[in-house]
């Protein structure tokens, strides 16, 4: 369920920056973000006077929680903070800089806790249902047929690129000027890994944290570098209006 979020509908005391990641060129444009956003979150972001339209629910779900960014700003009330969660106790979120980093919202303690066998006590049948299988097609320009990979089995971009190497044996990952590049060792053709996201835009692989990539990737294409330059200008004017 996608909701187009118009920032003007938000209460003024709530500061929000909205970004759409521009493909290929690594600059950010302010724009419309489409994300899976249940309407009850809009409610929780409402102010105490509840100017937002009435909820469809029979029970009243209006919350007295007033949201503002931590540390206040714009006269917003500090949120009613409940006691700190014991677990996760600390959150480690590595974003942005390297394409190998995942947005690990897992806590540092959770990584050891999740290795406890059989905890939490959930039947494997149920665990397997919660685990999804994300099979996406992989196309390589010039190859006679496509392959499919299950993105869920990889933990980062590095593993994915290694999987490409294995699947398309003519390709190898080389370090060229501190950047990892995919090359056809036979004829020196460079490939750029790209993917089609949920908005049907073609994006460069590696910009967003791994988990977000897995979430939004519909298919992969290893595009010849020579074509990629032309693509940049095409995707800049892709659909999705820009709101200032």
């Amino acid at each position: 369920m996608l909701v187009d979020l118009d920032p003007s509908c938000l209460p003024h005391k709530f500061q929000v920056q909205i970004f759409k990641f521009a493909p290929l060129g690594r600059t950010y444009d302010k724009g419309l973000i489409q994300c899976d956003l249940p309407s009850c979150v809009e409610m929780t972001m409402g102010n105490q006077r509840n100017d937002l339209p009435d909820s469809e629910y029979s029970g009243s779900l209006k919350t007295e929680l007033t949201l503002a960014l931590p540390g206040g700003g714009g006269g917003a009330q500090a949120p009613k903070l409940r006691p700190k969660r014991g677990f996760p106790e600390a959150v480690n979120l590595n974003l942005g800089t390297s394409s190998e980093d995942e947005a690990s919202v897992i806590t540092q303690s959770s990584s050891s806790k999740t290795q406890v066998v059989g905890w939490p006590p959930v039947r494997s049948y149920r665990k397997n249902i919660m685990k999804s299988c994300k099979f996406v097609k992989v196309a390589v320009d010039g190859a006679p047929y496509l392959r499919k990979v299950d993105l869920e089995i990889y933990t980062g971009y590095q593993q994915l690129l290694a999987a490409f190497e294995e699947m398309f044996t003519c390709l190898s990952i080389c370090d060229v000027l501190n950047e990892r590049k995919i090359m056809d060792s036979a004829n020196g053709t460079e490939y750029v890994p790209t993917y089609e996201d949920k908005d049907e835009d073609w994006m460069l692989v590696g910009d967003v944290p791994w988990k977000m990539f897995v979430e939004s990737c519909k298919r992969l294409r290893l595009m010849k570098s020579s074509e990629a330059i032309g693509l940049a200008s095409k995707t800049m004017s892709s659909k999705g209006s820009n709101i200032d």
Partner: protein
């Protein structure tokens, strides 16, 4: 005077005694009653398949028609028991076939069922009517094909949460055209496709079909056609619930649903487009049971909208999914501080709790609630906290059974819950961090659970979690007089804890303990106790090999099994060596002969 009652009269009276416990009690009155009872018993329940063997059961109950068997210990559900441990049903089926038992019903839980067993079952019992497999493994769709082909009077085929190898044969198509007797068909746990046309024809020719649970591979348009053919259904499990919500198919589905005025139980949604959910609103008003716990990624507000239509709900299974990952990007374009992210997680917990608030204000008839964790793989989905539980307890006074996975808990909340709901029969709380203290006071959760056992005088099953000392077991031993099953993990300080329980809980049948500091003193204090119980599981505790040997020597009518995994399989371990996994159970038939190499019966 009762001696002068002819046996036929006794038998007739005993017909009204149906619960197996009551029948067991009846059989202990005198020899004559024992005799009458054993020849008239048709339903036999065996809680531990190794407590007795097939020959003895058949000898005592020659007229048995329905057999229920349970195999592996409960903790096998959580991968604590290695594969090939045991629990094979084949010997039972073989014995019954050999003795000409007129078997009509077989219900198995946590057993290993081979295709061979299913084939033998299908061919040996001409009146076979009902097969229920829960949490079993070892079979494929070929075995199901044998059942479908051969059981001419099959009424019930109910597969719940089994690991089944899908051979892509056409097992469902094996039901012959002459099969019109199906009342219940549940294949939700199968992964492969079934022939849609065969399914539709099967449904159309079984007018008594009351319960139908489809699997993931059955698409929405097939569901719509089926419902049109079977408006008499009581219990429906949808398969895949994905379609263009504006399509004609969805419109037809909604109309078909309107005609299904008997549906009281709904489950499935194994894949779901939330915008299609309104199609089920027409049946929500009469629903008494709703299981949404298999639906991956239904967002909480869609769930809440659905639940708000279900005012008569008595049973609800859910999880609350809120995808964190998008919000981190929504709120800012720079990495969030730990504090910022913590703050967001708290808010999203609120949404989970609010969902429960909606349940509390809508579902006043609620008796059973299960809230499953929404985040097993640490991808950052939020969950529920103690607030949700308190809301439920306040809003649903008839609540008697709960399974609740949560991020955190407090003593105050548990005390409030205990006051609001004194009728709990089953209370299972699981904090995702197994040793988390009270979220407000940082104290152990002893007082909270103590309040639960003190208030809920009818409590039969309890699972505890969070930071717990010996004190909580003192309370359990003192107050939980009706307790039959207790699950302990990462709790307690010393042997005293376990001793409180063993001394206090007179009706205890099953005790399972993992990762707790209970040792030999507790294990050996009252060895006679274990013959009054079905089983004891202890893993990653402090019991030693020597103590287990002593116990086994003292109690010949117990099987004390040690499970040895991994590299350290010594020929004769030192008596002081700690035992990693021990499972003991009372038995009439001595050590089992099908134990694998890694299981030692002392």
């Amino acid at each position: 005077m009762l001696n002068y009652f002819p046996e036929e009269v006794l038998e007739h009276v005993f017909d009204f005694v149906t619960s197996h416990r009551d029948r067991n009690a009846v059989s202990l009155v005198c020899k004559s009653w024992y005799s009458v009872e054993r020849f008239s018993r048709e339903k036999v329940f065996i809680g531990n398949c190794y407590a007795v063997n097939p020959e003895r059961v058949i000898a005592r109950f020659p007229r048995v028609r329905s057999l229920t068997l349970k195999g592996k210990p409960h903790f096998a559900d959580f991968n604590l028991v290695p594969p090939d441990w045991g629990g094979y049903v084949y010997p039972w089926i073989e014995a019954m076939a050999k003795h000409g038992i007129n078997l009509e019903e077989l219900r198995l839980k946590r057993m290993v069922v081979s295709d061979e067993s299913l084939e033998l079952l299908a061919k040996s019992f001409p009146n076979f009517k009902s097969l229920v497999l829960v949490s079993c493994e070892g079979f494929t769709t070929d075995g199901l094909a044998a059942i479908a082909s051969n059981c001419r009077f099959l009424r019930e085929l109910d597969l719940q949460e089994n690991e089944v190898d899908d051979r892509k044969g056409q097992w469902l198509s094996c039901f012959p055209d002459s099969c019109t007797s199906l009342i219940s068909l549940n294949f939700a746990c199968l992964k492969g496709e079934v022939n849609a046309a065969a399914l539709e024809r099967l449904v159309a020719r079984c007018p008594n079909l009351r319960s139908l649970r489809l699997n993931h591979a059955v698409p929405l348009d097939t569901l719509q056609k089926i419902l049109t053919q079977a408006p008499q259904l009581n219990d429906l499990g949808t398969g895949s619930f994905v379609h263009d919500p504006d399509s004609e198919t969805c419109g037809k589905l909604k109309n078909a649903m309107k005609k299904c005025k008997s549906i009281r139980s709904l489950s499935g949604f194994l894949d779901v487009n939330a915008r299609c959910l309104p199609a089920v609103y027409p049946i929500c008003t009469n629903l008494t049971s709703l299981n949404l716990s298999y639906a991956p990624g239904i967002y909480s507000n869609d769930l809440i909208k659905l639940i708000c239509h279900c005012k008569k709900l008595e049973r609800l299974w859910v999880c609350f999914f809120i995808k964190l990952i998008h919000y981190t990007y929504f709120f800012s374009g720079v990495p969030l501080s730990n504090q910022g992210l913590n703050w967001i997680m708290q808010i999203l917990d609120t949404i989970g709790d609010k969902g429960l608030g909606a349940v509390a204000s809508t579902c006043k008839e609620l008796q059973e609630l299960r809230v499953f964790p929404s985040d097993l793989y640490g991808v950052g989905n939020a969950g529920v906290t103690e607030e949700g539980l308190v809301a439920i307890s306040a809003g649903c006074p008839k609540l008697n059974s709960i399974l609740y996975f949560c991020q955190q808990m407090t003593n105050a909340a548990l005390i409030t819950v205990a006051k609001n709901c004194p009728n709990f029969i089953r209370f299972r709380l699981c904090t995702l961090n197994p040793t988390i203290p009270d979220a407000v006071t940082n104290l152990p959760l002893d007082e909270g659970f103590g309040a639960i056992v003190q208030s809920c005088k009818g409590l039969k099953r309890l699972s505890v979690s969070g930071l717990l000392t010996d004190q909580v077991f003192l309370y359990i031993g003192m107050y939980a007089e009706q307790l039959e099953m207790l699950s302990i993990a990462f709790a307690g300080d010393s042997d005293k804890g376990m001793l409180y329980v063993l001394n206090g809980c007179k009706k205890l049948k099953k005790l399972e303990i993992r990762d707790s500091p209970f040792g030999n003193v507790a294990l050996l204090a009252d060895v006679g106790k274990y013959e009054t119980m079905r089983s004891l599981w202890m893993s990653s505790c402090e019991v030693t090999f020597g103590a287990c040997k002593t116990l086994a020597e003292k109690m010949p009518r117990l099987n004390v099994e040690i499970i040895n995994e991994g590299e350290e399989i010594e020929a004769s371990p030192d008596d002081r060596h700690r035992v990693e996994k021990m499972y003991l159970y009372r038995t009439l038939v001595g050590p089992r002969r099908d134990a694998p190499d890694f299981v030692w019966t002392l």
